[in-house]
């Protein structure tokens, strides 16, 4: 194979025509095979070892793609686009990679038989649009305006998302629990831990929800602690700060607390200009030392007298300062029974005023009670070397809250944290979409049948083939679910199809039994935008890759990667 490019740049590498497609397809299918085993609640885990030997256990597609350091150009392109899926919707990364891989795998056969890729891509586009319409008009379940109040659906969505990210779901005690939520008032098999975390996630979203404003997930602080087990994770109506008071005599537990959120320097500030004192006796020096402190003492005294004026009996005071507080000032506050936290994080300052009310205090002039927040309880807890401050029982109109995640080790907490972030996104999506899709592969089965029954006959000419490819590719999701759960792929798919045909209802796959189920009654809900995005993204990717006829790498030879044997 000679190419004109090589005459221009002798170092360039070229892969063209059929071979280019094969390279692309292989990369896409290869990536698909890597991620395949992680899909769904019964997927397995991958252990990632970083450059410094740090461990990460994960089954989250996004995390995997991010950490895998993919270099193959095609694979990297798919991986990057799939992570875009996550940026937009927070979920569905694995599905997108799977769908892309399957689309290419099926399309390659037709191209090999001489079909022009352009015709195929037309078919894919047509099928995609039909599929999206089907999703919108026929399949999605609308939830109405007051979706935020609909706790059962929200919890179910969170649960569906969490189940696919947490391996704990399978191994943690699975109990028959009574689920007391409206239409779900029936006995269900569910993992307690997932249920508990899902509950916390929904509580968090409901706390930060304000009508007519976009949900700002930054208002939810996620804090991890390495102790006890993941079961002890919980929702905190308030804020948990990862530091404590820096004075041994400060109170550890306060009740009925006025919270002063401030950004005021309470330590000695160096002058901007070169300055010094000149003295000639020790008395003079003492005086200078005193005068130096005077300014700070004055400020502290102001705060102390403010505290005295606002605090009634049984009320206490807590200062949370973004700037520093020096030991002498801390001492003054400790004597007054004030808990003072210094060097709080900026983002926590915003969350604090949202959670406790009040406003950040930037100057000590005109202190007003209205600027103070309120919390029912503030307590400082130390676990080993680490100190945490819990600002709890905030007023009911709190706009910010904390998800406290615990786990026996860093691996678990990191995993739970990633999962919770996705859970939050899933609930957010539901609230914004005001609709959900039955999960467990239900949509893919239904769309597959719809395309074959309705769209294929209506399509004329060779474009038909593209639609067929798309329809068959969709089945990769239920197929993989079945394979991961340890059931026969063909048999499970046939069962699902028959059931769908017979009942006309949304039929998903039960990953525990391998049997068809009704996602609606099991509470398995996916997000509309995740599905839609996944369909669009994978089609775009597949189309682009199909239309590639040359892969070139110009310029310097990068050195050949040596596959190391293990």
């Amino acid at each position: 194979m000679t190419s004109s490019l090589q005459e221009i740049s002798p170092n360039a590498e070229i892969v063209s025509k059929q071979q280019a497609l094969r390279v692309n397809t292989n990369a896409a299918v290869g990536l698909m095979n890597v991620l395949k085993s992680n899909l769904g609640p019964t997927g397995t885990l991958k252990l990632l070892v970083g450059g410094a030997g740090q461990l990460k256990l994960t089954k989250d597609g996004l995390t995997l793609l991010k950490e895998m350091q993919i270099q193959h150009p095609t694979a990297a392109m798919i991986a990057r686009s799939a992570t875009a899926q996550d940026d937009i919707t927070g979920d569905g990364t694995t599905s997108t990679v799977l769908l892309t891989g399957e689309l290419l795998r099926l399309a390659e056969q037709y191209v090999a038989e001489g079909l022009h890729p352009r015709i195929l891509t037309d078919g894919l586009d047509r099928a995609r649009d039909a599929c999206a319409d089907f999703l919108k008009s026929d399949f999605q379940v609308a939830l109405g305006e007051d979706v935020i109040q609909n706790s059962d659906v929200l919890i179910s969505t969170a649960r569906t998302s969490l189940q696919t990210k947490l391996d704990l779901a399978l191994v943690e005690k699975v109990r028959v629990a009574r689920c007391e939520h409206g239409s779900f008032a029936k006995l269900m098999f569910l993992s307690l831990i997932v249920f508990k975390i899902a509950r916390a996630v929904v509580d968090a979203i409901q706390t930060i929800y304000t009508k007519d404003a976009p949900l700002d997930l930054n208002r939810v602080e996620i804090i991890t602690m390495e102790r006890q087990s993941a079961m002890d994770s919980r929702f905190v109506r308030g804020l948990v700060l990862d530091h404590g008071g820096r004075h041994p005599d400060m109170p550890k537990v306060l009740k009925n607390v006025h919270i002063m959120t401030c950004n005021i320097s309470l330590e000695y500030e160096q002058t901007e200009t070169q300055a010094g004192f000149v003295y000639s006796t020790a008395e003079e020096r003492e005086k200078l030392v005193e005068s130096e402190r005077k300014w700070l003492d004055e400020r502290c005294r102001k705060i102390v007298s403010f505290k005295r004026s606002v605090c009634g009996p049984d009320e206490t005071f807590c200062i949370i300062n973004q700037k520093g507080v020096d030991p002498l000032s801390l001492d003054i506050f400790a004597k007054e029974g004030i808990l003072c936290l210094r060097r709080a994080k900026r983002r926590n300052m915003e969350r604090l005023t949202l959670a406790c009310g009040g406003s950040p205090i930037l100057s000590l002039e005109d202190l007003d009670k209205k600027q103070l927040g309120y919390a029912g309880k503030v307590s400082e807890v130390s676990y080993g070397e680490d100190k945490y401050t819990f600002v709890e029982d905030c007023p009911n109109n709190a706009q910010s809250c904390t998800l406290l995640l615990q786990g026996p080790n860093e691996l678990t907490t990191a995993q739970v944290k990633d999962a919770v972030k996705d859970g939050l996104r899933a609930v957010k999506n539901t609230v914004e979409d005001k609709a959900v899709v039955p999960g467990g592969g239900a949509f893919e089965i239904a769309a597959h049948m719809y395309l074959h029954e309705k769209v294929v006959p209506e399509t004329a000419g060779k474009t038909k083939l593209g639609v067929q490819v798309f329809a068959d590719a969709l089945l990769i999701i239920p197929k993989t679910l079945a394979a991961n759960a340890g059931y026969d792929v063909q048999e499970s798919i046939l069962k699902l199809k028959d059931e769908r045909k017979a009942t006309g209802m949304a039929i998903g796959m039960n990953c525990r039994t391998g049997e068809p189920m009704l996602p609606e009654t099991e509470g398995v809900w996916d997000n509309v935008r995740v599905k839609r995005q996944s369909i669009y993204l994978s089609t775009v990717l597949a189309n682009q890759l199909l239309l590639v006829d040359e892969v070139m790498r110009a310029g310097k030879q990068m050195g050949k990667p040596k596959p190391e044997d293990m």
């Binding site: 094969r22 390279v23 990369a27 397995t44 252990l47 450059g51 350091q69 006796t281």
Partner: protein, 549 residues
């Protein structure tokens, strides 16, 4: 034309960055799948440390990367120094560390049991497909659940209910310490019990309230308990011993105060110089006098002590001690009930601490300042031994002992030690397994079988024929009547002859374990095992710098 970068045949390895390693079951589906390889790595670690299990466990000599030598049989301490590199073994090691942090004991149990459970799984896998079926993992969970909720409660033989009872605590501590420092438990246990009883507040023991001071020299039997605090340094002043003294503690230095901004002394004549020094002296004397007048006889400072201050302190017959560490200073405050002051000046009466006596004593050729106070909420155990490595080991043993008491304060239930409880669980589980259908049956049986590793290792380490001992144990535990607890365990005292059977009554020997610690260890081990078994692929980035794995 196709370069390696586009080599379609290279699979995942061809896609990743150079130097990345990737293990999955597809590479070699026959015998060395990832799961099996992980199991063998963990087994390696667990077998290595199993010789250190129990009172008769052998010590390891570990030389760490700083060439520091450590001789110990404490599993957690060894793991800390051995840099485990294999990712799966790392998971196991982190489970041990967690156990050490939460309970301070039974770390080797975690390792030994998890290792054995993995080994049992490997044998199950050999009979099935490459991947441990979800049922097996669920079965392990179920077994753990059964142990926790069904079997353990029936195996509780005693409980500590009255913490003022020294005997009860002693009974509990002896086996804990024996497994770390066999032979010294007779000396250490009373010390630890005494120390814990002193610092007990509302029935709770704070681990931080019992301190150890290690002083090389003499022997273990000369270790003593002090009511109060011991600083490993002498005093600065001439006065070295004070009785019934009030104490002022300064977190700041004891020296002339200085301004934050740069200060310059302005002098024009020689007289100025003289006068300046005089004024400094006068100022310092004033401060010292005011402190002395408030009744303080001992001054402790966390920062610098200027020569001038020292001079005046000496002149006023005040004892002065410098403690550099902030934490140590805080402990001293706790011991004598003082508040650390940040400003130089006389303390108010409630800021002052008090001690019955403070004196400098020589121990092992080093001065030690001892503050004693009958009311103190801090106890210090002075450990003596010939070498630092023994001292360190003793310290670890004491820490574990205090942890055990703290745990007992939360939940004081006992089970029989010496492998008896493991054997009982093992027998019960294997019997239970027969009633369960499906793959879970194998899981329960494997779990039960794996529990035998504890008595077997104990027997092996004590020099018995482990197979015979195990058989004896099994028969005694299997023939136990409903409602009673079999207390037969491994006899670790092999008295120089082969006459003994290797088993004995744990009740007579008074060997107990805390239920809580055992349960936590079991939980950690199962958690680690299940996690390791769930991994189907390992993707390792190229190590960044440093020596290669």
């Amino acid at each position: 034309m196709t370069s390696m970068a586009y080599n379609s045949a290279a699979g995942l390895a061809g896609m990743l960055k150079e130097g990345t390693r990737h293990f999955s079951q597809e590479d070699d589906p026959t015998n060395s799948s990832v799961v099996l390889r992980n199991i063998s790595a963990c087994l390696e670690l667990s077998r290595m440390l199993s010789t250190s299990l129990g009172p008769q466990g052998r010590c390891k000599l570990v030389v760490n990367h700083l060439e520091k030598i450590m001789v110990t049989s404490d599993c957690a301490a060894i793991l800390k120094e051995v840099e485990v590199e294999h990712p799966a073994a790392k998971l196991l090691a982190s489970a041990c560390r967690k156990q050490e942090e939460e309970c301070g004991d039974n770390t080797n149990f975690v390792l030994a049991f998890a290792g054995e459970l993995l080994w049992q799984t490997a044998q199950l896998i050999a009979k099935m497909t490459w991947q441990p079926a979800p049922e097996i993992l669920a079965g392990y969970r179920r077994a753990l659940d059964l142990c926790e909720s069904k079997f353990f409660p029936t195996l509780v033989c005693d409980s500590v209910n009255n913490f003022t009872q020294k005997d009860q605590l002693l009974q509990l501590l002896r086996p804990v310490l024996a497994s770390k420092q066999y032979g010294s438990e007779g000396v250490l246990a009373p010390l630890v019990v005494e120390a814990c009883l002193r610092v007990m507040k509302n029935g709770r023991v704070s681990v931080e309230s019992v301190r150890t001071v290690k002083i090389p020299g003499a022997s273990v039997s000369q270790s003593v308990l002090l009511d109060g605090y011991a600083a490993k340094s002498g005093v600065e002043t001439v006065v070295t011993s004070v009785e019934k003294a009030k104490i002022a503690v300064f977190a700041s230095g004891f020296e002339a105060s200085s301004t934050e901004a740069k200060g310059t002394v302005l002098m024009k004549t020689a007289d100025d110089l003289k006068n300046y020094n005089k004024s400094e002296e006068a100022k310092m004397e004033e401060i010292v006098r005011s402190i002395v007048e408030s009744g303080v006889k001992i001054v402790v400072t966390g920062g610098n002590l200027s020569d001038m201050a020292l001079h005046f302190l000496d002149r006023h017959q005040v004892m002065c001690l410098r403690i550099g560490s902030k934490w140590e200073l805080r402990r001293l405050c706790q011991a004598v009930g003082a508040t650390a002051l940040v400003r130089l000046g006389p303390p108010t009466p409630d800021e002052m601490g008090y001690c019955d006596s403070a004196r400098v004593q020589e121990m092992g050729g080093k001065p030690v300042t001892i503050f004693t106070n009958a009311e103190s909420k801090l106890a210090t155990i002075v450990l003596r031994a010939s070498t630092t490595s023994v001292l360190n080991d003793l310290e670890r043993a004491v820490d574990d002992g205090v942890q055990a008491v703290a745990q007992a304060a939360k939940d004081g239930r006992f089970v029989y030690g010496g492998g008896a409880v493991e054997m009982a669980l093992s027998v019960a589980l294997q019997q239970e397994a027969e009633k369960v259908p499906g793959l879970e049956q194998y899981a329960l049986a494997a779990f039960g079988k794996a529990l035998e590793v504890i008595p077997r290792t104990l027997a092996e380490n004590a020099g018995w024929d482990s197979t015979r001992v195990l058989a004896d144990l099994q028969s005694s535990h299997a023939s136990v009547t409903e409602g009673t607890i079999c207390d037969v365990g491994v006899d670790i005292d092999r008295l120089g002859d082969d006459q003994g059977s290797g088993t004995t009554s744990m009740k007579e020997k008074a060997i107990y374990d805390l239920l809580n610690t055992k349960m936590s260890a079991l939980r950690q081990a199962v958690d680690a095992t299940v996690t390791i078994l769930k991994v189907d692929q390992i993707i390792m980035s190229k190590p960044s710098g440093g020596p290669k794995m």
